[in-house]
């Protein structure tokens, strides 16, 4: 039953990577959406009509910064797909990912 051992070892790693990237990135994305909304301020309705809320530039900047993190994550995924197609693999032994020939 060596296969079961290999599968369980692999499964752990896939689960951890999946949680970090597959759940982590969308959560960062959601935080980005929240920051953008906060940055745009809350509109209020009163007798003189609808008043736009006060803008909070910090929220907007933070929102786009969070989106950038997500985009980088997606680019990493793309690099992996394209790279492995051409016989390279991503190497994480330096903290930042590098492409090495397989």
């Amino acid at each position: 039953m060596h296969n079961l051992g290999f599968a369980l070892t692999g499964a752990w790693q896939v689960l951890l990577a999946g949680l970090a990237l597959g759940a982590g990135l969308p959560i960062i994305f959601a935080l980005g959406i929240r920051s953008l909304a906060w940055g745009a301020g809350e509109a209020s309705v009163n007798s003189s009509g609808v008043t736009a809320g006060t803008r909070r530039p910090l929220g907007t900047v933070l929102g786009y910064a969070l989106f950038t993190v997500v985009v980088l994550g997606v680019l990493l995924g793309l690099t992996f797909i394209v790279g492995s197609g051409f016989g390279y693999k991503l190497d994480f032994s330096h903290i930042y990912p590098t492409l090495v020939a397989k």
């Binding site: 999946g18 990237l21 597959g22 759940a23 959560i27 994305f29 959601a30 959406i33 197609g85």
Partner: protein, 403 residues
């Protein structure tokens, strides 16, 4: 001539693989209306086409995972070439037919089952019939995850659970984070989130699945002496396989899209984003780690997970249960068809045998296509409500009862 039948059948399998798997990437985006149905299948088709060309790695050894008809370099085993390769071609042909028939049947019932497992099942059945028990790679050689158990059975059990957990966690936290945020921000944001993550899944699918057909066709070419280079795949094989999977994807397996997008659970845009990101991450991470899995199992697991993660959402376990049942019987069923086809081909013998197998395939496909005309599911009605839909034959239960 037998070779021509094998090539056509392989491309036909690739085509069914395409429309069977459109749902994996696009069902959620179609269900939440992030993309119009036609736009979604077109996008997915193009990405599959691009993906098929992106990979230059030779997937010549694809059958080694489950059967023993090739050596480690990808060359067909010498003892199978004694008769000019026609014995080997018959095994491949019967295996492909098993895969196609199972793909069409599950499509008819709107069940997302794994195309790779259907192919592997067909090949295992044909190899069992043609070569006996020793012709199947059951358990690998112990050095890595391999064989029917390691490449097919274990991943099928484990990968939907992993994808489900990832998507459930993602969905649950996303809903916590975005509660109370104005809809104009969440709708636009998650629309792009879904399109982006679904595109990644499509691209990854193209790089993985088209390769399998290319490998099988090239193996057939080598076996019949029309190709000898083990390092490269003929350009026309690459182009035709890429086109076949892209066209199949563009055709869209609407029945399966409907089951995955509407049947399991009612998906909202944040769930779609979480499900598709989870699927993309699990697919990429496992292919990085050499853990073979099926896109279908991952995508289905993550859709179920996103249903479990959203507060107040319900998962239709009846639908999910039927799917799991389909997964369980995919390998043996495709195997039975593959084996039966091998016996037919072998009994008739030679060229006529291959023709007989091919004719049976055409008849079976035609019959299932005709059956599907009653109760069409297409881009017009793919998003109709699941419960109480007037189009009863679109749901698997009555269709099964009618048989």
């Amino acid at each position: 001539m037998i070779l021509a039948l094998v090539v056509i059948t392989a491309l036909a399998f690739d085509f069914t693989n395409g429309f069977h798997d459109t749902a994996n990437a696009m069902a959620t985006s179609i269900a939440t209306k992030a993309l119009r149905p036609k736009t979604a299948v077109a996008l997915s088709g193009v990405l599959n086409l691009v993906g098929a060309f992106l990979s230059v790695e030779v997937a010549l050894t694809v059958t080694n995972a489950v059967v023993k008809i090739q050596d480690k370099t990808g060359a067909p085993k010498a003892e199978l070439l004694a008769d000019g390769g026609s014995g080997l071609l018959l095994i491949i042909l019967a295996g492909l037919v098993g895969g196609i028939v199972w793909n069409l049947l599950t499509w008819l019932f709107g069940l997302p089952s794994s195309s790779s497992h259907a192919l592997f099942g067909g090949l295992v059945g044909a190899a069992l019939a043609g070569l006996g028990v020793a012709g199947v790679n059951w358990n690998g050689d112990g050095s890595k995850l391999d064989g029917v158990v390691g490449k097919v059975l274990l991943p099928a059990v484990i990968s939907p659970v992993i994808a489900g957990v990832v998507a459930a966690v993602g969905t649950w936290i996303i809903f916590k984070v975005t509660t109370g945020v104005a809809a104009r921000f969440t709708e636009k944001g998650f629309r792009w989130g879904q399109i982006g993550s679904a595109s990644l899944v499509s691209l990854a699918h193209g790089t993985n699945d088209a390769q399998k057909t290319m490998g099988v066709i090239t193996l057939a070419l080598i076996a019949s002496g029309h190709w000898s280079d083990l390092e490269n795949i003929p350009l026309w094989v690459k182009v035709s396989a890429a086109l076949a999977i892209a066209l199949g994807t563009y055709l869209g397996g609407w029945r399966i899209i409907r089951t995955l997008g509407k049947g399991i659970t009612d998906i909202t845009p944040p769930q779609g984003t979480a499900a598709q990101s989870g699927a993309a991450a699990v697919i990429l991470a496992s292919s990085h780690l050499g853990f073979a899995l099926s896109t279908t199992h991952v995508a289905t697991g993550s859709v179920i997970g996103s249903g479990l993660g959203r507060p107040g959402a319900t998962v239709r376990w009846g639908v999910a249960g039927r799917m799991v049942l389909a997964w369980l019987i995919t390998l043996p069923s495709a195997g039975l068809v593959g084996a039966a086809m091998w016996y037919v081909g072998d009994a008739v013998g030679g060229m006529a045998g291959a023709l007989a197998v091919f004719t049976l395939l055409v008849l079976a496909s035609g019959a299932m296509y005709m059956r599907s005309r009653a109760g069409r599911v297409d881009h017009e009605n793919v998003n109709d409500d699941w419960d109480g839909a007037p189009d009863q034959s679109a749901t698997p239960i009555p269709a099964a009862a009618a048989n």
